[in-house]
C-alpha cells in the first residue's frame, strides 16, 4: 500500500465522519425544522378549510369539501396531529434541539 493510498483512505474516513457530523448536527435538524414548519402551515390551511371537524361551523366548507378527495393523506395526518398536539409550546419546543 503506497502512501497516497493510505492518505486517500484516511481522507475518505474523515469525509464520511464530516458528512455524518454535518448531517447530524446541522442539516438534519434543519430539514426537520423546515418540514415541521411546513406541517404547521399545512395544519393551519386544513383548519381554515375544515373547522367543522372540530365543531366550528364554517360558511365555506361547502367549497372546501371539493378539496377533500385530494387531501386523503393530509387529512388523516392532520387529524392525528391536531388531536395529539398537547400545546403550541410543546410543538414548537420540539423544533429546537438543545
Amino acid at each position: 500500500m503506497t502512501l497516497s493510498d493510505r492518505i486517500d483512505r484516511f481522507l475518505a474516513v474523515v469525509r464520511e465522519w464530516g458528512a455524518g457530523l454535518y448531517h447530524g448536527l446541522i442539516s438534519h435538524p434543519a430539514f426537520e425544522k423546515v418540514e415541521q414548519e411546513a406541517e404547521d402551515l399545512e395544519d393551519s390551511f386544513m383548519l381554515a378549510c375544515f373547522p367543522d371537524a372540530f365543531g366550528i361551523p364554517s360558511p365555506v366548507s361547502y367549497y372546501t369539501a371539493e378539496l377533500l378527495p385530494y387531501l386523503e393523506s393530509e387529512f388523516e395526518a392532520w387529524e392525528r396531529r391536531m388531536w395529539n398536539r398537547g400545546s403550541m409550546l410543546e410543538r414548537k419546543g420540539q423544533q429546537y434541539h438543545f
Binding site: 430539514f31 366548507s61 361547502y62 369539501a65 371539493e66 388523516e76
Partner: protein, 333 residues
C-alpha cells in the same frame, strides 16, 4: 327619455322586501325587453318561486321558452338540486382518489359540509354565476331575487370569497415551498407545487369568484322594488346602502302597489279610506323621490286582477327603464 341602465349592463337584478312585487316587476321588465326585440331570460333565485304563477307555466332548472311570447325564456333555480349535485360530484371524486380505508372518514366530512347553513347559499351563488357564464344566447338576463337580506348576503359573497381563497392559496403555496426546501439534496419532497390538485382547484375557484365579482360590479344593474309604506321604505334604504357599500350600483326604485285615488264626487266610507291611504302614500313617495339618490323609475297602481298575461304588458309599459344593450356583450372570461 329614460336612461337608467347602461348598455353594458346585461344582468338586471330586481330586489326588495318580501311581497312587494319583485316577481311582477322582473317579469314585466323581461316582457318589455323581449318586446323590444331582445332575447331575454328571466331567472328566479327566490326559493319560493312564483315566476311559474305569473306566466301560468311550469319552469325548471334550465331556460324554457315562455309560451306565446317572442324572445322570452324563463328558469327557476333550485339550490337543493345543486347541493345534491355538488355532493354527488365530490363523492365521485372521492371514490376515484381515496383508499377504501379512508373513504368513510372523509365521506362523513363531506356530508357534514353539505349540511352547513352556508351550503344552500353557496349552491345558489354557484348556480347563478353559472347562469351568467352560460348566458351567451341571451341579450339580457333578468334576476328575480329573494328578499333583501338573503340577496345582499349572496351578492356580498364574491368579495368575501375572493379574499378567503387568496389566503388559502398563499398558505398552501408556502407550505409546499417549505416541503420542497426541506428536501433539497435529499430525496423526493413530500409535496410539489407542480400538478398539485389542491392548488389547481383553488385557482379555479378563485377565477370563478373573480368572474362573479367583475360581472356584478361592471355588468349588472340593480333595481329595488318598493311599496309606499313605512316598512318597505326603510328596508329599501338599508338595501340601497348595503348594495352601495359593496360597490354595486342601484339604478332606480320601482314603486309598486300605489292606491288609486277615488273620484272627487265620491264620499262613501270606501272613498274616504282611499283618500287617506293616498295621502300617506304621497308622503312616502315624496320621501322616496327626495331622500334617495336613485330615481323613481316606475309608479305602478294596485290592480284588482292578478298580474298575469296581458296585464304584464300593461305594467311593462309603465316601467320607465330602458332596454338598450351593448353591441358586444361581456365576455365569459
Amino acid at each position: 327619455m329614460a336612461t337608467h341602465t347602461r348598455p353594458t349592463e346585461k344582468f338586471v337584478f330586481f330586489g326588495g322586501k318580501g311581497g312587494v312585487g319583485k316577481t311582477t316587476m322582473s317579469a314585466a321588465y323581461a316582457v318589455k325587453c323581449a318586446d323590444a326585440g331582445l332575447d331575454t331570460l328571466v331567472v328566479s333565485t327566490d326559493p319560493a318561486h312564483s315566476t311559474s304563477d305569473v306566466f301560468d307555466q311550469r319552469f325548471g332548472d334550465d331556460p324554457e321558452a315562455v309560451d306565446g311570447r317572442e324572445g322570452l325564456w324563463a328558469m327557476e333555480i333550485d339550490p337543493d338540486e345543486e347541493v345534491e349535485h355538488h355532493l354527488m360530484e365530490t363523492k365521485r371524486a372521492l371514490g376515484d382518489q381515496v383508499s377504501a380505508a379512508m373513504v368513510n372518514e372523509i365521506d362523513r366530512q363531506i356530508e357534514m359540509a353539505h349540511q352547513t347553513p352556508g351550503a344552500y347559499e353557496a349552491a345558489l351563488f354557484d348556480r347563478f354565476v353559472d347562469v351568467m357564464q352560460s348566458s351567451e344566447a341571451f341579450d339580457r338576463v333578468v334576476f328575480d331575487t329573494s328578499p333583501t337580506g338573503g340577496t345582499l348576503r349572496l351578492l356580498g359573497l364574491p368579495d368575501f370569497l375572493e379574499g378567503w381563497i387568496d389566503r388559502l392559496l398563499r398558505k398552501r403555496e408556502k407550505s409546499i415551498d417549505l416541503f420542497e426546501k426541506a428536501a433539497i439534496g435529499r430525496n423526493e419532497p413530500r409535496r410539489v407545487a407542480e400538478g398539485d390538485p389542491i392548488l389547481a382547484r383553488l385557482q379555479e375557484r378563485k377565477e370563478f369568484f373573480e368572474y362573479a365579482g367583475r360581472m356584478l360590479r361592471e355588468h349588472a344593474a340593480f333595481f329595488l322594488v318598493v311599496n309606499p309604506d313605512e316598512l318597505s321604505v326603510r328596508e329599501t334604504r338599508r338595501a340601497a346602502d348595503g348594495l352601495a357599500d359593496r360597490g354595486l350600483s342601484v339604478r332606480g326604485l320601482a314603486v309598486n302597489r300605489l292606491t288609486p285615488e277615488p273620484d272627487d264626487d265620491e264620499n262613501g266610507r270606501g272613498a274616504r279610506y282611499l283618500r287617506d291611504r293616498v295621502a300617506t302614500e304621497r308622503a312616502h313617495l315624496r320621501t322616496l323621490r327626495e331622500e334617495f339618490d336613485q330615481p323613481v323609475v316606475a309608479e305602478i297602481e294596485t290592480r284588482v286582477e292578478e298580474v298575469r298575461g296581458d296585464f304584464l304588458s300593461e305594467v311593462a309599459a309603465e316601467l320607465d327603464i330602458d332596454t338598450a344593450v351593448a353591441a358586444d356583450p361581456p365576455s365569459r372570461s
